[in-house]
């Protein structure tokens, strides 16, 4: 039932019929680097005002840009991870406009010849479908500074710490068709960038910001007129903005109106988009090649070297987790979205004697560990239980020292105390009882105490079997080997 539903493409029902959404994204991702794209000033977040500003960033007369090699490498790595064409020659242009936080009066960007051309991102959707989103291009550019409007009644204050920090603008093709697909795309992109370490993906600190292009059309028709929603800084807001904007456009169109191609702003408090007409006036960026810079030429050997040094990417790792560990698509996806999670999981699986069950380990990481971390509001990095310790627990579980039920108690104790599993089992005497004689004695006692129920069972009331198992386990303090309990009960009740 659910599957049949989700196979239906996403539509918004208007008064006059269904509408299809067409969405394209421009993601601005801050390049992870120590210093800025064209100056030696630092890039760290949250520094004192204008303390990470060089004379170049402040656009002092006669100051000149010199490009940061690492930022170039990061863009190439990202391009490679997006399966994109790397342009061996690219050109930096000036995008000219006046704004308070743009000290040069132009932004150095790449216009006609970006460093990275067409690529692709593969999405696994929640309903199990997969789809591909085309990448149009990726280019390097400078970030602007920051204006603070709440410090003075009639003035804005300017802090240039961000001015000149390297950004990658990653432009998708208009291949997205729903808010959910868009969210999946951003998550996937973020995952890739974090895997290869080219952007920390921190949307709260502004390391990743999205401009969202939205239009609507009747299914099967050509593209409608789009609006661009600028600078949306969370995945949830992107989804809300798309939904609001699509409905707004549909209302206009159904009332016989037309859409103005314009830039809009998402107001998170009201959950709506509104026109930015004030910034619209006379935008003519007058792009031209920056004469302070020369064309950026990349040696194919350098590109090959960067390619060789890329880590295993999320898609490849997910596929391997499925084939090598026999995980479901869902578990493999969940475990590989974040590189740290995948690493953590593999440390558990591959540690110890290497005989740990990968499926059981996946369950433990995804449900027990993440459940506990979520409850405590902790990140994986802050987990009180290390991958090693989790591995120890897996070993006890694997060799039958403890049962799954006991393991949960042990794990709770581990979270609480940070002690390792073996020590807790030892201390509390939680070792599983697998001694046939001992279990047989318990089973006999249980059957003896419940003769009436034994009779009922033998009379055909099969469901009582669970009752006997429960009683036996209870009497053993949970330590009896459940498999052996089953076997013995079956034999004795049959007898």
């Amino acid at each position: 039932m659910a599957e049949a539903d989700s196979a239906q493409p996403y539509r918004i029902q208007g008064e006059t019929g269904p509408w299809e959404l067409v969405i394209g994204l421009e993601v601005h991702a801050q390049v992870t680097s120590k210093s800025k794209l064209f100056s030696g000033a630092a890039t760290a977040f949250g520094a004192e005002p204008n303390s990470q500003v060089s004379l170049v960033d402040a656009a002092m007369p006669g100051m000149l840009p010199v490009i940061n090699r690492e930022c170039v490498d990061q863009a190439v790595r990202t391009g490679l991870a997006l399966e994109a064409r790397i342009n061996e020659v690219s050109v930096f242009d000036r995008k000219n406009y006046f704004y308070a936080d743009l000290p040069q009066g132009y932004q150095i960007s790449q216009y006609l010849q970006p460093i990275v051309g067409e690529g692709v991102v593969h999405l696994d959707l929640e309903d199990g479908r997969t789809c591909e989103v085309g990448i149009e291009r990726l280019h390097l550019e400078q970030d602007a500074g920051k204006s603070l409007h709440d410090q003075h009644p009639s003035k804005s204050y300017i802090d240039l710490n961000r001015s000149g920090v390297a950004l990658m603008e990653i432009v998708s093709k208009p291949d997205l068709r729903s808010p959910e697909e868009t969210a999946a795309y951003i998550r996937k992109l973020r995952s890739i960038l974090r895997y290869i370490g080219t952007c920390d993906g921190n949307m709260q600190e502004g390391s990743m910001r999205c401009d969202v292009n939205v239009s609507v059309r009747r299914p099967g028709e050509g593209f409608g007129t789009r609006c661009e929603i600028k600078n949306v800084n969370s995945i949830r807001f992107v989804q809300q903005a798309i939904e609001y904007e699509a409905r707004r456009q549909i209302e206009i169109l159904e009332a016989g109106g037309t859409i103005d191609q314009e830039t809009r702003l998402f107001d998170a408090n009201r959950g709506e988009t509104r026109s930015m007409r004030s910034k619209e006036e006379a935008h003519d960026y007058r792009y031209f090649p920056d004469p302070d810079l020369l064309p950026l030429v990349l040696d194919p050997a350098r590109i090959a070297e960067l390619k060789a040094s890329l880590p295993e990417l999320p898609d490849a790792r997910k596929a391997r987790f499925m084939s090598e560990y026999g995980l479901s698509l869902y578990d493999a996806s969940s475990l590989t979205e974040e590189r740290a999670t995948a690493d953590w999981y593999e440390a558990v699986v591959k540690g110890g004697s290497g005989k740990r069950d990968p499926k059981i380990a996946a369950n433990w990481v995804l449900s027990e560990l993440f459940g506990a971390l979520n409850k405590a509001g902790l990140d994986l990095a802050d987990s009180p239980v290390s991958a090693d310790a989790m591995g120890g627990l897996m070993d006890l579980l694997g060799d039958g020292t403890i049962s799954g039920r006991i393991a949960k108690d042990v794990f709770a104790e581990m979270l609480e105390t940070g002690k390792d599993a073996a020590a807790i089992v030892e201390e509390k005497g939680l070792k599983q009882v697998s001694d046939t004689g001992a279990i047989e004695a318990i089973v006999d006692a249980v059957l003896a105490e419940n003769q009436d129920k034994v009779a009922e069972y033998r009379g055909g009331k099969d469901k009582l079997f669970g009752f006997f198992v429960g009683q036996t386990m209870k009497r053993s303090g949970g330590k009896a080997n459940p498999g052996m309990v089953n076997e013995l009960l079956k034999a004795k009740l049959a007898g």
Binding site: K34, P49, E70, C71, S154, S156, I158, A282, P295
Partner: protein, 95 residues
């Protein structure tokens, strides 16, 4: 191509230059004279000629990623006409 007063006024807005009305008229004349002069280039056949943006023969130099600059907000705002602490200040921007 000949520029009229309104076009020159809009270019001036784009360039953030206040050109008072009495200076606009002569400016239109000057700019048209200059444009008339540069339009000689239309006589040159440039089919198949690549544009030349740089005359140097070398490749773009690239620096190592290291923090080598900054850390001196006082130098950054030293010449500012209206500094506010370590910030620059401008008339309030309404978004």
């Amino acid at each position: 191509m000949s520029l009229d007063k309104a076009t020159v006024a809009s270019i001036a807005t784009l360039a953030r230059l206040r050109v008072p009305d009495d200076r606009l008229e002569p400016m239109v004349g000057d700019l048209n004279a200059i444009l008339g002069f540069v339009e000689q280039l239309n006589q040159v056949n440039t089919d198949g000629v690549e544009p030349l943006a740089n005359v140097t023969g070398h490749a773009l130099p690239q620096r190592e990623d290291a923090v080598t600059d900054g850390g001196y907000p006082e130098r950054v705002t030293l010449n500012a006409p209206d500094p506010a602490g370590d910030f620059y200040a401008v008339p309030k921007v309404v978004e």
